[in-house]
């Protein structure tokens, strides 16, 4: 799976969790920018991503991921090797 494929799946997961199909998700999208990206939605998001890619995030990793690029990079570099 290449970076763009991972990004597309992450993008769709955001749309599902935030219940907004028109939502624009880019690599630079971050938690400061998205009003609804709070602790509850973050855990929902990370849990959905874990399920989607069949991976597990450590608690430390999970709470540090605050933008889309960091999420995609972690999946590509450490979780899908």
């Amino acid at each position: 799976m290449n970076k763009n494929e991972v990004f597309c799946i992450v993008q769709n997961t955001f749309k599902n969790i935030f219940n907004d199909n028109d939502m624009v998700v880019t690599y630079s999208t971050n938690s400061d920018e998205l009003e609804n990206w709070d602790s509850l939605n973050h855990i929902k998001l990370m849990s959905a991503i874990e399920k989607e890619f069949n991976i597990k995030f450590a608690l430390g990793e999970l709470i540090e991921l605050k933008n889309v690029e960091a999420i995609v990079n972690l999946i590509i570099n450490e979780k899908l090797e």
Binding site: S31, D32, N36, W37, D38, S39, L40, N41, H42, I43, K44, M46, S47, L59, L62, I63, K66
Partner: protein, 361 residues
């Protein structure tokens, strides 16, 4: 005349409970409203009160499991009456069934005035004034209930989930046992983003800092970490801080147990672990058990001015947080049990939190 105390349905699912305490001895004097026993269902501890003045005789024993409809105790006007009752109850029942009963003159008079036939009286086994009064009352209640049903039939109805009904039952029981009262303070010029950066908080969630401050303060404000029961104050030794999660169906309250032993960074890790377990539906019973103090934060939903949260079972206080990011405002609302604490103490507690938030914990 003796009166009976029957165990009634307490929750949606529980039809049995365990007797965990009997506060009187057999043949001891009791007053109406006095607690005579405590029963424990799967969800709550329930006080059973005397329904009459008199002398008590238990029909159950400690640690016995009872079912809905079981007789817990009998209250009689005198010890002799109770003795007679317990010695002869079986004999009396047999006699009562064999005895041919006659309708009293007064009962007949009431029946006539209400156009109730003698056949109906016999059919319904109505012989005394008390019985005909109960029959009239029952008929009226039935008519009223039919009216209600006809009225309600016009509406669409939805049954809440079992979990929601259980939440409602628990909250109803805890509100009925307490004297809930609320007190708020407003912290102006509160910038949550800067606050989060300084305190290394993730996603602007204030729970770790607030929980750390509260754990320290509850050592002083002991009245806010306990519960009121049977005219006495009970204090928890441990500080277990719960936080509310709205699952879109019902409220779940995961708990950071012994919160006073952790610093805010450790509390933050525990918070996220519990949140993850809740979202993934992997939370265990022990992780949602025994909160002694609860924090409810509506900030993530929107710019709420304030809300007055309801007390959780066996707690004496709950703190509501409301952050308005745009107005740079934080509102802290404490709902407390007035049996345990007072408005003055609640306000001093909130002021202590304000001081530590603004000056560092």
């Amino acid at each position: 005349m003796s009166s009976k105390i029957i165990y009634e349905q307490q929750g949606v699912t529980d039809d049995e409970a365990e007797i965990v305490s009997l506060s009187k001895n057999d043949f001891e004097r009791v007053k109406v409203g006095e607690v005579i026993a405590e029963v424990e269902t799967s969800k709550a501890l329930i006080e059973v009160e005397a329904n009459n003045d008199g002398y008590i005789k238990y029909n159950t024993s400690l640690n016995e499991t009872i079912k809905v409809g079981d007789l817990i105790a009998t209250i009689g006007e005198s010890r002799e009456e109770l003795n007679e009752y317990s010695n002869n109850s079986n004999k009396d029942l047999v006699k009562e069934n064999l005895k041919e009963k006659s309708i009293s003159a007064k009962t007949l008079k009431i029946a006539k005035s209400l156009a109730i036939s003698v056949d109906t009286l016999k059919e319904q086994k109505i012989y005394t004034v008390e019985e005909i009064n109960a029959y009239i009352k029952g008929n009226n209640a039935e008519k009223k209930s039919n009216l209600n049903e006809n009225f309600l039939a016009k509406f669409n109805k939805v049954s809440p989930s079992k979990n929601k009904l259980s939440e409602i039952d628990n909250l109803k029981i805890s509100q009925s046992k307490t004297l809930p009262c609320s007190c708020s303070i407003i912290i102006e010029e509160f910038d949550i983003e800067s606050f989060s950066k300084i305190n290394n908080l993730y996603f602007d969630n204030m729970f770790p800092v607030i929980a750390e401050i509260i754990s320290q303060e509850l050592k002083t404000f002991k009245n806010l970490n306990g519960f009121f029961h049977n005219r006495k104050k009970y204090f928890y030794e441990e500080i277990n801080i719960g936080f509310t999660i709205d699952t879109n169906d019902y409220l779940q309250v995961p708990v950071v147990h012994n919160c006073e032993k952790y610093n805010k960074d450790e509390i933050q890790n525990l918070f996220f672990e519990l949140l993850k377990a809740s979202i993934q539906e992997k939370i265990t019973l022990s992780q949602i058990s025994k909160p002694t103090f609860v924090i409810s934060d509506l900030s993530s939903v929107g710019n709420c001015f304030f809300h007055t949260p309801l007390l959780a079972p066996n707690t004496s206080a709950i703190l509501g947080l409301a952050i308005d990011k745009k107005a740079f405002r934080l509102v802290l609302t404490l709902t407390y049990d007035h049996q345990m604490s007072s408005g003055k103490e609640a306000l001093l507690f909130l002021e202590a939190i304000r001081f530590k938030l603004l000056n560092g914990a």
